[in-house]
């Protein structure tokens, strides 16, 4: 039966414009048997058998060319299914040399599918590509260009570059277009090798063919991304092209679902977004066309929304304009309030758009809080993640607790490691930036480490240790020690957990070693005991052991320094013994160091391991001054004095040069000092010595510019925290309004923020804000109370405890009627049937496929409901036949089913099922047939022909699978 269907299909298609013609029976058999395979294992067996037979036959001498083509197509098929067909690559390469175009195309297709651009066989194709690029037949040239895109690598670009450049002026527009794209690919592979040809892209922008112009936008987009400033002159041209496209000046063939050339519009908008970014003048040229687009874009179709979304992106990127911002905000809220049927895609886009717009105006999030919370609660993971991204962007110190808590809950619930790591690092970032209290900070970090400890970057752990050691940059020692003891408390508690990530254990060991006994709450023996337990209870690696033994060493040293006696616990002794015999030399050394330390007196121990000195800089005596006495004595005793290498070689003159070098070096260090001086008033004093001593100083910047730099630097880099924050994780603060700063510099910071507010000029002032944000990283916590009242209110209403509850209620209330209406209007038919036909997997869920396409006007002639009535019975009786039904119906189902609205699709499914068993529905399908044939319009003859041939072999529409003949597109 299955076979008959296939034959029928085969014949039917064979009569239709040769689409199915020219394939061997063997190939059809192979594909068919794969299609019928019930499991992956069976499929693998079939393919492996096929590969074996092909390996044999392809190597036979004098394989006819047509047959070879067939073999190669079968190899492509095998490779597509994930099997290795490398033995056939060389034959595919040979086939590209063939003179006949069909064979050559097959060869090119196979090599582009088989080979990556680093394959050794590429070199054998270069010559053919070169030859084909010069062919008179433009189809040959096209095939060669397509292959060149995929196969030519950096080394081989020069071999074909001249020909490709020549083809930019080819009379056929298709060739020009492909040549542009090939050149673009070359640019991506190796920008240097085509950098001299970039002007060609500008030229092609004026091509008479819109297709070539559209293709040229791809390379131009890349080029402009690299270097915006060289293309500012094109802003007007791009804007005018966009205007013309929007006004339907392009040929009708470029229309897509009633939109004029939307793909070109999108590309142009992307380019304009780049060019207008932070450039008031360039942006001004775009405003008009953008507002036109906002007006014209119809939001009923998917493609219209795609263009609209790109407009929003463009508005959020260019120099802000109030009117356009309003339009963008309006469009965004339309996305967010999208009607329920296909809302998810639009909501997703809306959330993304919102994330872009709040960079410019943080307040607009407020009116969409309901929609945002709605998306956060959504069962769709994709939407949820997008919403977390938005929340991340709008986190403030007032809502950080709620947001991070949500993130951690989500973090615990997923098992996608890639995303887990991502969201964990975001949690850490937000916690460091906005933590409301030390307690909270430590708890949050503990949770993150507990659940994603092995995924977060080790830098995060080091950062945490540093934070605990340094405190939050506050002068208040009490708060710091409180932070430390709360950390110690929580770690001692957490150590009871059965399984902890190694990175987290490292942090715990370090903190316990450094601060375990600091506040006197716990005895040294207790902490040491805990540390020994760590290494026993958790299967830990050498790194954790090293952290543990170092921690024990610190505690012992503190004890000895305080004059107390250290008693060696038995478990500690055995741990020590284990490490002294370890394979790791590092562990051994640490163990021996500890043993040596135990013998020291209190003063020495205190010097070796000073208390709470992890933040102190280790002073290195580069001149080894403490050895001077020793050297002096040795020389007195008759030892040879040390000579530098240069002197030993007899080049004593060199030493004369050393003094200017030294001077230069010292001026360097002086210069660093100047940068760090915070008060502008002191600047004029400092350069004076430079000027007087600058005879040898070649590096010194001319004074005037130096002043200016100095001025800026002193404003921007504030205090030592700046560098420490910089060394940590990169803080993404763009778009987050800065409210905090050191009181001393409040004037400068307030200027930045006020400017930002008045002009919305985040872009323009980005530099200032960014560098400013660095210094406020740690200060933010201290300055919390300064958060403006209005912001707090917004956050409270967004995510505050009381507000969120009412919001949720509201959402629920909103949701309920939504659900009802959906049921009522759409799927009640499907739902009511589904118990009976639930085994019928062929019914495509209509909503997924329906992207808001206009409902087809041609209504079905048969009443779907009647058919459904007849269907339920036979369908359940068909249970055992399910498998055959499924594969048969499944494959033959027209892919364009999505064009049908719900009722027709149900009716079609019912037909495919009913055809197996019931007569009554068969009849209806049969009666429908002529109508379909008539509907086919230009294909009428084909359809009739198809029908006739099929009947000859006994496959009739009343027979096995009427779906094979069904033309759904109408």
């Amino acid at each position: 039966m299955e076979q008959l269907k296939t034959i029928g299909r085969e014949l039917a298609m064979g009569s239709q414009g040769g689409a199915w013609a020219g394939q061997s029976k063997e190939f059809l058999d192979l594909v068919k048997s794969i299609g019928e395979a019930r499991s992956k294992a069976e499929e693998d067996r079939i393919i492996l058998r096929e590969i074996e037979s092909l390996r044999r036959r392809i190597a036979e001498p004098d394989v006819p060319r047509r047959r070879m083509k067939d073999y190669i197509i079968r190899l492509v098929y095998a490779e597509m299914l994930g099997h290795d067909a490398s033995f056939g690559y060389i034959h595919a390469v040979k086939m590209t040399h063939d003179d006949s175009l069909p064979l050559k195309r097959t060869g090119y297709l196979a090599v582009t599918l088989f080979l990556n651009d680093d394959h050794d066989l590429i070199i054998l194709i270069i010559n053919t590509i070169q030859k084909d690029l010069r062919s008179d037949n433009y189809l040959v040239v096209c095939a060669a260009l397509t292959a060149a895109c995929k196969l030519i690598n950096e080394e081989t670009i020069p071999a074909v570059l001249p020909q490709v450049v020549d083809l930019l002026a080819h009379p056929k527009e298709t060739v020009r277009k492909k040549a542009v794209m090939t050149l673009h690919r070359f640019y991506q592979r190796s920008p240097a090798s085509v950098s001299h040809l970039i002007s060609n892209f500008r030229k092609r922008l004026c091509d008479s063919d819109p297709g070539v112009m559209g293709a040229t936008l791809c390379p131009l987009f890349d080029l402009i991304t690299e270097d915006v400033n060289s293309y500012k002159d094109l802003v007007a041209s791009f804007a005018s092209i966009l205007k013309q496209v929007a006004e339907r000046k392009l040929p009708k063939t470029y229309d897509y679902h009633q939109m004029p050339a939307p793909f070109i519009q999108i590309k142009l908008l992307k380019i304009l977004a780049l060019l207008g970014s932070g450039d008031k003048q360039a942006s001004g040229q775009v405003y008009n066309v953008l507002s036109d687009l906002f007006r014209k874009c119809e939001t009923s179709s998917n493609i219209g929304n795609a263009v609209l979304y790109e407009c929003i992106c463009c508005v959020s990127s260019i120099y802000p304009n109030v009117k356009l911002m309003d339009a963008a905000i309006e469009a965004t809220s339309k996305f967010l309030k999208a009607c329920p049927s296909d809302s998810h895609n639009l909501k997703y886009m809306g959330i993304d758009a919102l994330g872009r717009l709040i960079k410019i105006n943080p307040d607009i999030a407020e009116e969409h809080q309901l929609a945002v919370i709605d998306c956060l609660e959504d069962p769709d993971d994709t939407l949820k993640r997008k919403t977390f991204e938005l929340l991340y962007k709008m986190t403030k110190s007032s809502n950080v607790e709620v947001i991070v808590e949500r993130m951690i809950d989500y973090l615990i619930s997923i098992d996608d490691n890639h995303y887990k790591a991502d969201i964990a690092s975001r949690c850490v970032e937000l916690a460091e930036q906005f933590a409301p209290s030390n307690q909270w900070f430590i708890q949050t970090m503990n949770k993150v480490f507990e659940h994603a400890g092995d995924l977060v970057n080790s830098r995060v752990a080091h950062n945490l240790m540093r934070l605990i050691a340094e405190g939050f940059g506050e002068d208040d020692e009490g708060a710091d020690s409180q932070l430390r003891s709360s950390a110690v408390d929580s770690y001692l508690r957490i150590l009871g957990e059965p399984k902890l990530p190694s990175l987290f254990l490292q942090v715990i060991c370090w903190v316990l070693g450094e601060y375990g006994t600091a506040d006197g709450k716990y005895t040294a023996a207790y902490i040491i005991g805990k540390l020994c337990d760590v290494t026993e209870a958790h299967l830990c690696n050498d790194t954790v052991k090293a952290y543990a033994i170092s921690a024990i060493m610190k505690i012992c040293a503190f004890e000895i320094a305080a004059g107390r006696k250290v008693e060696m616990l038995p478990e500690c002794q055995s741990f020590l013994d284990e490490l002294s015999a370890s394979h790791s030399t590092d562990l051994q050394q640490r163990a021996y160091e500890l043993q040596a330390l135990l013998c020291l007196d209190s003063q020495a121990a205190g010097n070796v391991m000073p208390l709470d000195a992890s933040c102190e800089d280790v002073e290195i005596d580069k001149d080894l001054s403490f050895l001077i006495n020793f050297v002096q004595q040795s020389i007195e005793k008759g030892a040879n004095p040390y000579l530098p290498e240069s002197e030993r070689l007899g080049m004593s003159g060199v030493s004369n040069f050393s003094s200017p070098y030294q001077q230069e070096a010292s001026s360097h260090s002086l210069r660093f000092e100047a940068y760090e001086l915070p008060k502008p008033s002191s600047i004029p004093v400092i350069p004076q010595p430079f000027i007087s001593t600058s005879t040898t100083d070649l590096v010194l910047v001319p004074d005037t510019t130096y002043y200016r730099e100095n001025n800026q630097a002193s404003k921007l880099i504030v205090g030592p925290e700046a560098s420490s924050a910089d060394a940590g994780i990169k803080l993404r603060l763009d778009g987050v309004q800065k409210k905090w700063g050191k009181p001393t510099y409040s004037s400068s910071s307030s200027i930045t923020t006020s400017v930002e507010k008045t002009t919305n000029g985040v872009v323009a002032h980005q530099d200032g804000i960014r560098s400013h944000s660095r210094d406020t990283t740690y200060d933010s916590r201290r300055q919390q109370p300064e958060v403006s009242v209005e912001k707090q209110r917004l956050a409270a209403s967004l995510f505050g405890a009381s507000a969120s509850k009412t919001e949720k209620k509201a959402t629920m209330a909103q949701k309920a009627p939504k659900g009802n209406s959906t049921n009522a209007e759409k799927s009640s038919v499907v739902r009511s049937v589904s118990p009976g036909t639930s085994k019928d997997k062929t019914a495509p869920p209509p909503d997924l496929l329906d992207f808001g396409e206009p409902v087809p006007t041609s209504a079905p002639t048969i009443d779907p409901f009647k058919e459904l009535e007849g269907l339920i019975e036979p369908a359940s009786a068909l249970g055992p036949l399910y498998n055959t039904v499924k594969t048969g119906g499944d494959k033959a189902q027209d892919l364009m089913a999505l064009h049908m609205d719900t009722p027709p699709s149900v009716s079609r499914t019912s037909l495919s099922l009913a055809s197996e068993g019931t007569y009554s529905t068969d009849k209806s399908s049969y009666t429908e047939k002529p109508m379909i044939a008539v509907k086919k319009g230009p294909n009428l003859q084909d359809a009739l022909h198809k029908d006739a041939t099929a009947r000859q072999v006994g496959v009739t529409p009343t027979g096995n699978n009427p779906n094979l003949f069904r033309d759904l597109l109408g």
Partner: protein, 160 residues
């Protein structure tokens, strides 16, 4: 940029793959396995996008066939969704109401069509008519080649 195009059946069978960024055979298998697990399990009414390893995968289901395209973070998902539809419409025009079976038996034709729509991971032609004209021109070449071959074999048989 589009990194790859994969056509999957509902049972997770691969119907077409096209890789615009370099992937080794092993990586390809992993990608397909991961994505089919990710996409086929998604219920209806959800987004047509999935975030995956720092990329985004846009998919759309037609009857029992999933068309998936992998794109960069900053690409426009809705646009890709329409590129998929553009591709399907052209397939439909070429095969005359395309169905999965057409693509199974003519996957190389589908490749040729895809090559006219996408090149190097970018959309190269947004006019259906232009694509159709080119494919038709290529098919005519095939036909003439066949006829020539036929006439030669006729001559040979006559001569014998």
């Amino acid at each position: 940029m589009i990194h790859f195009v994969i056509l999957l059946s509902r049972q997770g069978k691969v119907r077409l793959t096209k890789w615009y960024s370099p992937y080794q055979q092993k990586e390809r298998a992993t990608v397909i396995r991961e994505l089919s697990g990710l996409i086929l399990s998604r219920g209806p009414k959800l987004c047509n996008f999935v975030e995956w390893k720092g990329y985004k995968v846009v998919y759309r289901r037609y009857a029992s066939l999933y068309f998936c395209m992998c794109i960069d973070q900053d690409d426009n998902e809705l646009e890709i969704l329409e590129i998929i539809h553009h591709f399907v419409e052209i397939l439909d025009r070429y095969f005359g109401s395309v169905c999965e079976l057409d693509l199974i038996f003519n996957f190389h034709k589908a490749y040729y069509i895809l090559d006219e729509i996408l090149i190097a991971g970018e959309l190269q032609e947004s006019s259906k008519k232009t694509v159709a004209r080119l494919i038709a021109a290529q098919d005519t070449m095939v036909e003439t080649a066949k006829e020539e071959a036929g006439s030669i074999s006729n001559m040979i048989s006559q001569a014998m």
